[in-house]
Amino acid sequence: MKALVTFPILIPLATAIITIFLGRSLRGKVVVSLVGGGASFASALLLLRTVWSQGTVVHVMGSWSPPFGIILVADLLSSGMVLLSSGVALVALCYSVGYVEEEGQRLAYHPLFHLLMMGIYGAFLTGDIFNLFVFFEILLISSYALVAFAGEDYQLEATLKYATINLIASAVFLLAVGGLYGTMGSLNMADLSLKIGQLQDPGPLPTIFLLFIAVFGVKASMFPFYFWLPDAHSSAPTPISAILSGVLIKVGAYSILRISSVIFVPFRPDVQGWILALAAITMVVGACGALAQSDVKRLLAYSSVGQMGYILLGVGIGTPLALVSTLLFIVNHALAKAMLFLTAGIVIEATGTREMGNMGGLGRQMPWTAGAFLVGTMAIGGVPPLFGFFAKFLLIKSAIEAGYGFLAALAAVLAIVTLWYLFAAWQQVFWREGSGHALHAVPRLMKGSGLVLAGLILIGTIFLNPLVDFLSAVEAQLRQPGVYVTAVFREVTRGSALH
C-alpha cells in the first residue's frame, strides 16, 4: 500500500486542523491531540513493518512521475527515524497535557505541536531536496512559535536568536538548492544520484555539498553554528525541549547522512576532513559548556551539543561500523535526552527553580524521578550495561580502526567529562543533603511519561542484538544508494505502464 507513506504526514496535519476547529474546548483538544499522536505512532509502526517486509516504499505525489514530480520515499532509515520521533513525540505530548497551562492548550499549543511533527516526519520521508526545504520551514516556523510559547522575556530572546540564525540558514539552503538545480537540472534525490554518478567534471558541486552541510549543521548544532541551541532548548517549554533535543537536531544529522549517502557520494572524501574537524570541536565545546552550567536545562542543552559532536564524528568517519554506532547513538540520545529534559521539567515544576544549587536531596522525596534521571545520565554518559555504552564504545573503536587515533582519544576523554558533569548534576539535584523545600505537586501524567522513556532505554538494552541487527540493515541500505534509486525509478516505470 503506497499511500501508507503519506500517513505520518497527513495524520498530524489532520489533527492540527481538527484541534484548530475545536476552538477553546480543552477536553476535546486534548483527546483529539492524543489520538492524533497515537495514530501517527501507529502509522509509523505500520510503515516500518511494510518497509521491512516489502522493501523501500515510494509514493508519487500528484501522479507526476519523478524526476519531475515530488515523491515520498520510505526506506529503512527514514521510516526508522519516523518511528523513533513519533514515539518520543507521543510521550512528550502526554507530558504536555500535564505541563502546559490550560490557557496555552486552549490556544495554539496542540495545532503547533502537530504541525511541528508533520514537518519532522516530512523531512524524513521526502525524496526531493526542495521539498525537504519546505518541510524544514514547516518544522522551523512551528518551533519558533513553540519556543516562545509562554511569552516570557527570556523565551523571546532565545527565539529571536533561534529564528535569526535559522532564517539565514534557510536563505543559504535556497542558495544551495538553486546552485544544485542550476548545475544538475534536477532536485529529485534519486535522479541526482544517477546524474552525479555519471558526471565527468564535478564543477561547483563540492562547494554546493559544503553549503548543504553548513545548512544542516545549523540544525544539527555543529560548531560554529551551535550557539542558538543552548538558549532555545533551555528556554522552550519542557516537552518542546525534549522534542527539539531528542528529535529535531537529528533531522540535521539525518539530512547530512541522506545527502552524503545518496546524492553526493563521489564527493564524500572532499568534505570528510571538514566534518571530522568540526565534529571534534563541537564535542569539546559542548562538554566545556556543560561543565560551566548551574541551570539544569542549560546543562542538558549544552550536553546535546557535545553529543551531536559524536554523531557528526560517526557520520564523518563513515565506515560501516561507524555508521551503525552513530545510528545506535541517535536512538540512545533521542530517548535519553528527551527523558532527561522531561524529568528535569518535573524537578523544576516541583521545586520552582532551575538552579541546581537550590535543589538537592530530592532523591528521597521523588525516588522514581531520581531513578529515571539516573538511567538517562548513565545512557548519555555511556555506562555499561546500557546500550549508550555500546554506541560510544563502537564509535571509538571505529575511529581507531579507521586510523583516527587522536579523535578516538578525544572522544574517550570527553566521554569521561560527559559522565562527570551529568553525574555531578544528578548528585547535586537528587543526592546531597536536601534544602528541605516543600515540593509542589506534579501531575502524575508528567511523572509517568519520564518513566516510559526510561523503560524504553532498558528495553533497548535488553534487545540490543535485534536493535543492532536492524541498524546494520539500515546501514547496509545506506551504503548502496542503488537500492534507493532503483526503488524510485521502478515506481516510474510502473506508473507509465499504468497510464
Binding site: T6, I17, F21, G23, V60, M61, G62, S63, G69
Partner: protein, 142 residues
Amino acid sequence: MRRPTTIIAEVVTRFAFPIIFLFSLHLLLAGHNNPGGGFIAGLMTAVALVLQYVVFGMREVQRVTPSSYLGLVALGLTLALGTGLGSLVLGWGFLTSGILHLQIPLFGEVEVVSAFVFDVGVYFIVVGVTLTVISLLGRETA
C-alpha cells in the same frame, strides 16, 4: 471620534475596495492555467482589507469579515487536505488533480479541475492568516 485619515483616502478606498476584491477573485479563478492562484489572490484580498483597516480602522474590517479568523485558516486547510485525500481515496497519488470538461450554455466549454478546490483552500488560509496578523497588531491596547 478622531478621523484617522483624510476624506480623499476614504473616498478612494470606497471605490478601490470592490475593484481590488473582484480582481483578487479573478486571480483565484484564472490561477490554474494563467498567472494567478490561491496564494496571490488571498494576498490581494488581504491587501484590500488592510487598506480598509488603515483608512477606516479595525472595526470596519471586522464588520465585513467572519468573526473567527483562525476558523478561516482551518477551513482552508480542510479544503486543501480534502483535495489530496480525495485523490488518495480514489487510488491516485496524493493531490492528483482530476479534470472535468463541462459544456455550459453561454460560457462554452469550461474546464473544472479539482486543484481549484485546493487553490480556494490556499486563498482562505492566506486571508485568514493575514487577518489574524492585522487584528493582533491593530488591537486597541489600553
